[in-house]
């Protein structure tokens, strides 16, 4: 799950939480220009694909993907 509120997503039972940008726009950033926003979204999708293909022993939050 991509969420700006990692601990909330964890509490709901998501095993793999990718930290999103902000509550109103978890998967993008309207303050960036089009190219910067595109780059951010590519990183979020790639980071999420990496998270979903990571074997876990316990639930985890993947930080820094959108940074």
């Amino acid at each position: 799950m991509i969420s700006a509120l990692g601990p909330v997503a964890s509490e709901l039972g998501a095993n793999r939480v990718v930290r999103g940008v902000k509550i109103p726009h978890p998967c993008g950033d309207p303050s960036l220009d089009a190219a910067g926003d595109h780059d951010l979204r590519v990183r979020l999708v790639r980071g999420s694909l990496k998270a979903i293909s990571t074997t876990l022993e316990q639930a985890a939050i993947f930080d820094g993907v959108a940074a």
Partner: protein, 432 residues
Amino acid sequence: MAKLELRTFDIESVSFGDRTALTGRTLMASKEELRSLVLADPAFSAVDIQLVRPGDSARITQITDVVEPRAKSGGTGGVFPGLLSPVEPAGGGRTDRLRGVAVVTSGEVPWLGSKGLFVAHDSVLDTAGPGADLHPYAGLHLLVFRFSFADGVDHDGLERAVLLAGEKVARTLALTAHDAEPSLVETRELAPPATPLPRVVYAYQVQSQGVFMRSRLHGRILDELVPTLVHPNELADGALTSGGLGGHGAKMHTWMHQNNPLIEGLIAGHGTRWDFAGVILHRGHFYLYEDKQRVALRIAETASLLGASGAIFTLGGAGNNTTEAMLAIQECERRGIKTVLLTWEHAGPDGSDYPLPFGVAEAVAIVSTGNLDEPLDLPAMGHVVGDPAIRVRPEIGGVAFPVDGPIRLERRTLYAGAANPLGFGRTGSVET
């Protein structure tokens, strides 16, 4: 520390007359005088003033704020510092309040092409029937000001004008009490108790996240507020003003800040049951997790520095603002500070859903003030004060919703005060 002499003047009847004056327990209000007072602001093009008496069957629409008449009659500064009065020390000297009467401001605040959250949300408020139990105003004489707005004023200007209008009228009415005989005189100060008692703080969350959804402390907008410590007497003088225009069920009117029942209770028990250490004012509903965590840490550190062994929490607004409160509860409990949260629930129409958007294991003492999602059936009122229809669904630009007959509200957000954020009245939920 501030020491305030609070004089209460009980008002038993209100009438319109040719001047504004208090005679015994009867308040006379001059429509002409009050009209010229508020219309001095060019943001308004007209105003209609009506009186709703206790027991009247009225549905007031499009409420923007409710204010209790208060004025200073001694000491420094004035009421509503930073907005109506200069920024000067507040909460000391002498303050006069008229109990039993409230100023209600209302009107169809223009949306100016905006949609969604950041418009003035319309609402209704009934003074009879089942709706009268949901807010603290039904037993009061309500002086309802319904404004029409001038063209060319932006949202910031409209918001400020409405807040100031309510405050101006409130001060003008309370100034009539200067030479009258009070019903009650209280001296309020947080003097150190004779014997040590448990220290308690009140973590008071307010909404402040943009135009029409923001609060002010000493006139300053609180959108970027880092939690700060406030003396309850400052709030008695109106240092904290409305959590945004519009009557949204979870919003707090200025009246609620002036008469917060938790603060009243904490002051009443100060020195005998506990040692009330002050109010930690903070905002919720930040969009970044780090901002929420900062609020939580600042509340817990402030409470800890004050030597608190207990902290009481209330919420401002609805939704993800629960996160700030819950994280703060966690941080307080980790420091050995016991916590209690007073909150509405988002428990679905039948009350069976998970009641809050976020929780922590440390939040073990929660008091419910009722379910915001429970549908509300309201009968027709004797008359409507305001427009017979309100605007709903601002996210799609607004849809007219007639309110001049019986109405069913699927959610209670359209009903002013319905979330009961501070625990007024007797609404609550029982676990079954």
